[in-house]
């Protein structure tokens, strides 16, 4: 049936159909840079571009889902102040590997998107900040693309004799999950530790080097050229009212064909699971983390009835986040999984806010104690009380990101925690009994 066929890889992954997906020639052959050339030559107004992006309904693909056009409109266009665009290529939300594939296979879409965004917000300098661990292959692919675009006079001074000047620079980090938070990224670019900033002021008012700055995710920016070229109606003809367009999902875990799949938002999870080859070894599905490890876990049977869009996943009790779908089969030990997640947030908390710095440590240590068979019911109670103490009391969202999974794992899989504890209490009980017998024998 026609309606059963899913439209796949039409936007950010469109070059994947080619043998040499990341070259300048491939991108241009597919109509790439025509939007940028049109904007430059016809001097399409900034307002018009922002209007088109607003109309498309594109939402930020880094995880927060904030409408991109609205973000751009926060820039005061009348101000003479220097403005910056920053592309967040610090992809590090556990389970997420979509941006790396855009950087590797379609870097020119990102570059064109960055140019259009810079122009729309009035920025003459743009930075693309790649995570440090990309320093080898990913970074060099991106740099090659950047130089090619410079060589073809699409970036730089007086672009194609238009009097438009935009410099686009590559930057590289050095390993810190927290730098994916947009204000921490600004700190890192400025050459400091990645400590998130207090907001307000928001970056659109006071950002990089104290100037108005817009920070967008790789996938968000790489989506821009085609949205302008084909029109917002092309984009939002797929998806739902609140979740229009295509979205890249990184599917990992216990599936036969893990991978990145760019599909219309609103696609049933079942179909995404089919695309990913179904469950490995014919096992049953137990649980899904639908948006990266920072979002609540959802039981498999609920996910099977859920569509992949912002509102449906919220209704299922979680968040769409970055689109990292981690799938777990029936044999998965949920205490082990949350132990791993808690360990991650504990080591990645930047330490600036006490509730997060201490809370992530408490959570990890208690889960570790439970997993090792030394936990008590009292420990589980303490563990349950911690997320609430972290959420909402920190500068950035890492605190919430650490708290939400713990809360949801206990809520959905309390039995498994209790099993670890029960064994322990039996042991305690036995020791007590043995001891009592011993004492009685002594008497």
């Amino acid at each position: 049936m026609m309606e059963d066929k899913i439209r796949i890889n039409e936007l950010c992954y469109s070059t994947l159909s080619s043998d040499k997906p990341n070259t300048f020639e491939t991108y241009v052959d597919q109509g790439g840079y025509s939007t940028w050339k049109k904007i430059v030559s016809s001097s399409m107004s900034k307002k018009e571009i922002i209007e088109l992006v607003l109309k498309s309904g594109l939402r930020g693909r880094g995880g927060a889902g904030f409408p991109t056009g609205r973000k751009w409109s926060f820039i005061n266009q009348d101000s003479e102040d220097i403005k910056y665009l920053v592309c967040n290529a610090d992809e590090s939300e556990p389970g997420t590997c979509k941006d790396r594939d855009i950087l590797r296979y379609n870097p020119h879409a990102l570059i064109e998107g960055m140019l259009i965004a810079s122009y729309a917000i009035g920025a003459e300098v743009a930075y693309c900040y790649l995570r440090g661990e990309f320093i080898d292959d990913v970074y060099s692919t991106f740099k090659t693309a950047l130089y090619d675009a410079y060589d073809n006079k699409l970036i730089g001074k007086n672009i194609l004799n238009s009097n438009i000047n935009i410099e686009l620079h590559d930057l590289i980090g050095a390993g810190a999950y927290i730098v994916g938070e947009e204000t921490a990224m600004l700190e890192s670019i400025e050459g400091k530790k990645g400590f998130p900033r207090f907001k307000p002021p928001f970056p659109a008012v006071k950002g990089l080097f104290g100037r108005p700055t817009i920070i967008n995710n790789v996938e968000t920016l790489a989506s821009i050229p085609k949205i302008i070229e084909n029109g917002p109606e092309w984009f939002n003809s797929v998806g739902t009212k609140d979740s229009p367009g295509f979205k890249c999902f990184s599917v990992s875990g216990h599936v036969n064909k893990p991978g990145n799949y760019e599909i219309p938002l609103g696609t049933p999870f079942k179909k995404l699971l089919d695309l990913a080859g179904g469950m490995k070894n014919g096992k049953k599905i137990k649980a899904v983390i639908p948006g990266g490890s920072s979002v609540p876990v959802v039981p498999g049977e609920i996910m099977l009835e859920t569509n992949m869009d912002y509102e449906s996943i919220t209704k299922a009790g979680s968040l769409l986040g970055s689109g990292a779908v981690i799938i777990m089969d029936e044999d998965t030990n949920m205490v082990e999984v949350i132990h791993r997640i808690a360990r991650f947030y504990y080591s990645e908390s930047c330490g600036q806010c006490t509730p997060c710095r201490e809370g992530t440590g408490w959570m990890y240590k208690i889960i570790d104690k439970i997993l090792k068979g030394n936990g008590t019911l009292e420990d589980l109670k303490t563990l349950e009380s911690i997320p609430n103490m972290i959420s909402g009391s920190t500068i950035c969202a890492l605190g919430d990101a650490a708290a939400m999974p713990v809360e949801s794992f206990i809520k959905n899989y309390k039995e498994e925690f209790l099993n670890y504890i029960k064994t322990q209490e039996e042991v305690v009980d036995n020791n007590y009994t043995n001891n009592k017998e011993f004492v009685m024998q002594q008497k």
């Binding site: 440090g132 320093i135 590289i172 390993g175």
Partner: protein, 165 residues
């Protein structure tokens, strides 16, 4: 962090840092700290206090500004490490696909404990997801990606490194 008597940043690295600084407003020097440390580490394998002091002097920033960066970002090694760095991702997606076994296989094969070095190898348990979840389990060798690992694949990778290829 180890101490050594003195260090002069090689001219080639100085040139690279100066070129890097052109990306930023002319009064901003700190944005080159991360880049500078990367360049020094590439040459010296790990960061020592004389490196930090030399970079601070070169950029005309406070030493603490450079120390902070060296300590905060996980890619900077502050202790002596082996020639090749092997980082095995052990975050959720990789764990679900057997990364713990991969790590212990490497421990046995290389005869070093996680977090430790021999002359040749430094074995790292990478807690931060390395963004290659669809290719789990995976690892980086000197920051090159190796995905869908099996014991046989690891044997080949290590053999190549041993051969100096």
């Amino acid at each position: 962090m180890e101490n050594m008597n003195s260090y002069n940043i090689p001219g080639e690295i100085c040139n690279k840092i100066n070129k890097w600084l052109l990306k930023f407003p002319s009064n901003e020097k700190k944005p080159a700290i991360i880049y500078g440390l990367h360049q020094i580490q590439k040459e010296s394998k790990y960061i020592q206090s004389a490196h930090v002091d030399a970079l601070a002097e070169f950029l005309n920033v406070e030493k603490i500004d450079v120390y902070e960066i060296a300590a905060f970002y996980s890619m900077f090694e502050l202790d002596k490490v082996g020639k090749h760095t092997i980082s095995v991702c052990t975050n959720v997606s990789c764990m679900l696909n057997g990364s713990d076994e991969i790590l212990s296989y490497l421990e046995k094969k290389l005869k070093i404990k996680v977090g430790c070095s021999s002359d040749k190898f430094f074995l790292k348990d990478e807690r931060e997801c390395l963004a290659a979840c669809a290719g789990a389990p995976m690892m980086q060798v000197n920051h090159k990606y190796y995905e869908n690992l099996t014991k046989q694949k690891i044997d080949e990778i290590i053999r190549d490194l041993d051969d100096g290829r």
